[in-house]
């Protein structure tokens, strides 16, 4: 098997979180405007034989909904979306997400595109996996400048789910909503607890033993490079060319 690409390791790490038996079941997963890696992880889970329904919101042809994009939010409002993915221009130690911008509201310093559906989806999906490849103190901050979507709510506020984990280019954090803190779950190759501390603006818990993020298995790699890439080619041609060295047929 040729060298493992970082994207392949991240896709496999995301896939393991999706099927984590300790998390609520993932029967219907929606993948939004996030990077193609969450989509690759979902396809990997599907190609491994898990019977999940995938609603991919950015497919170029077709669209899972016939009543317009509000259908995603209506499904989520009813509790029929088990898992969603979110990122953020800033993410803080309480899992608050900032997709609005830095500086004064509404992002007078650096304006990001905007909150999209995060202020609803993060609260109403059964769980959310946070994904942000850039692991730096400018992204992972002690306190976000503006809260697009809160990591936790005050007691008594209706909330169906929280962040399950935060997957970055350097490590995987688990989120603990009861204490509103992250803990280190695994380190990607070459990283140490100290290197993560140096790259992270927020404080987090460190268990006695922090394992290495596992390599994708040969079976996972074969699926990613074959049938997963086949499914992704139309929607994410640039990603497939870069990661899997595959070009869409003209």
């Amino acid at each position: 098997m040729s060298d493992i690409r970082p994207e392949e390791r991240l896709a496999a790490a995301l896939a393991r979180l999706i099927i984590d038996p300790a998390a609520p079941p993932a029967r219907h997963i929606a993948v939004g405007a996030a990077s193609p890696l969450p989509a690759a992880a979902c396809w990997l889970v599907r190609k491994q034989g898990h019977p999940v329904r995938l609603s991919l919101l950015h497919r170029r042809s077709g669209n899972p909904f016939t009543e317009g994009t509000r259908e995603l939010f209506d499904l989520t409002g009813q509790g029929r979306i088990d898992l969603f993915f979110l990122g953020g221009g800033q993410i803080d130690g309480q899992a608050n997400l900032n997709l609005v911008g830095t500086g004064e509201w509404p992002g007078r310093e650096v304006r990001f595109p905007g909150s999209f559906g995060s202020a609803f989806m993060y609260v109403m999906a059964h769980r959310t996996i946070l994904f942000r490849e850039e692991h730096s103190p400018r992204v992972f901050v002690e306190k976000v400048d503006n809260i697009s979507a809160p990591g936790v709510n005050a007691p008594g506020v209706f909330r169906r789910g929280h962040a399950q984990a935060l997957v970055t280019g350097k490590c995987v954090f688990r989120f603990h909503p009861e204490r509103a803190r992250f803990s280190l779950l695994s380190l990607h190759p070459g990283e140490t607890v100290e290197s993560i501390r140096a790259a992270t603006g927020f404080d987090f818990d460190v268990p006695a033993e922090v394992p290495r993020t596992p390599d994708p298995t040969p079976e996972e790699l074969a699926l990613l490079r074959g049938p997963v890439c086949d499914e992704m080619l139309e929607t994410y041609p640039e990603f497939c060319a870069r990661v899997f060295n595959r070009k869409a047929a003209a």
């Binding site: 405007a33 317009g68 509404p106 202020a119 609260v123």
Partner: protein
């Protein structure tokens, strides 16, 4: 049904109007956005349903927009919307940040003719903190202690989008992109550009009827071939990534944007192509 012209349609949009636009994956009328730039529209208040893209960035850059209410402004894979970002930094644009289901819910309240509708989520977000027009009440159907957000009905003055075709009765067909139906239902007027006008009545065809917007909601139709370009139109034509990437590159600066406008919007060739 007699179609109007694109330029007459643009002339019918008054300065200061509240204009609802679908995002780049849901049939915006780029042709009408360009015509609004040519007519020199001013003070428009845009509503992104539920987010905004190429058309909004173009209108903002050309000085047509005073305010925008939206859940995001983005050029998708081409990155941040450059003229929107510049206007936020300069403080020349009023931005009312929203979240996607809130836009849909406010429009659905307008569709139903009710003054407000509730929505879950939002509590704890700074979006809510910056929206004095959104209220939190205690759910009157619970035993107390269940706060929930109320959103006011939002009725745009004008809905603008692009459809595949119109029929002899003035019905328009756009398939499953039903957010365009929502904004047409909720708005006072709907201005729709189409690729072509065909004979007959879509509502007499069981296969076309579910993807049709009834002429009741359609104020004017204008023919604009490739009117969504560079955005994709269902299975009629694809997304022109190179065109949007070129725009994103040029619109990084005010001068580059002006050059782009001259070439793509104001030149006689560009205007004739619309």
């Amino acid at each position: 049904m007699t179609p109007t012209t694109l330029e007459a349609m643009a002339a019918s949009v008054p300065d200061g109007a509240l204009v609802a636009l679908p995002p780049d994956n849901s049939l915006p009328s780029i042709a009408l956005a360009k015509a609004l730039v040519r007519r020199g529209a001013r003070g428009l208040r845009l509503l992104g349903v539920p987010v905004a893209g190429f058309a909004a960035d173009l209108l903002i850059g050309a000085g047509c927009v005073a305010e925008i209410e939206t859940s995001a402004v983005s050029l998708g894979e081409a990155g941040f919307a450059p003229r929107f970002s510049a206007a936020v930094k300069a403080g020349t644009l009023v931005v009312r940040d929203c979240t996607c289901p809130a836009v849909h819910t406010m429009l659905q309240a307008a569709e139903k003719g009710v003054p407000f509708m509730p929505l879950r989520g939002l509590i704890g977000s700074d979006i809510l903190a910056h929206r004095p027009d959104w209220r939190v009440i205690d759910n009157p159907y619970a035993d107390g202690g269940d706060p929930i957000v109320l959103l006011p009905a939002l009725q745009p003055d004008i809905a603008i989008f692009h459809a595949v075709m119109a029929d002899a009765e003035g019905n328009v067909w756009l398939g499953r992109r039903r957010e365009c139906a929502t904004i047409a239902h909720a708005s006072k007027r709907a201005l729709v550009t189409v690729e072509r006008v065909v004979p007959g009545n879509f509502l007499e065809d069981e296969r076309l009827a579910p993807g049709t917007i009834n002429a009741t909601y359609v104020t004017e139709v204008a023919v604009a071939e490739r009117g969504a370009h560079p955005v994709a139109l269902l299975d009629e034509y694809g997304f022109d990534a190179a065109y949007v990437a070129d725009y994103a590159r040029m619109a990084k600066t005010e001068a580059g944007f002006a050059t782009w406008l001259d070439r793509e919007v104001f030149s006689p060739r560009a205007a004739a192509a619309e």
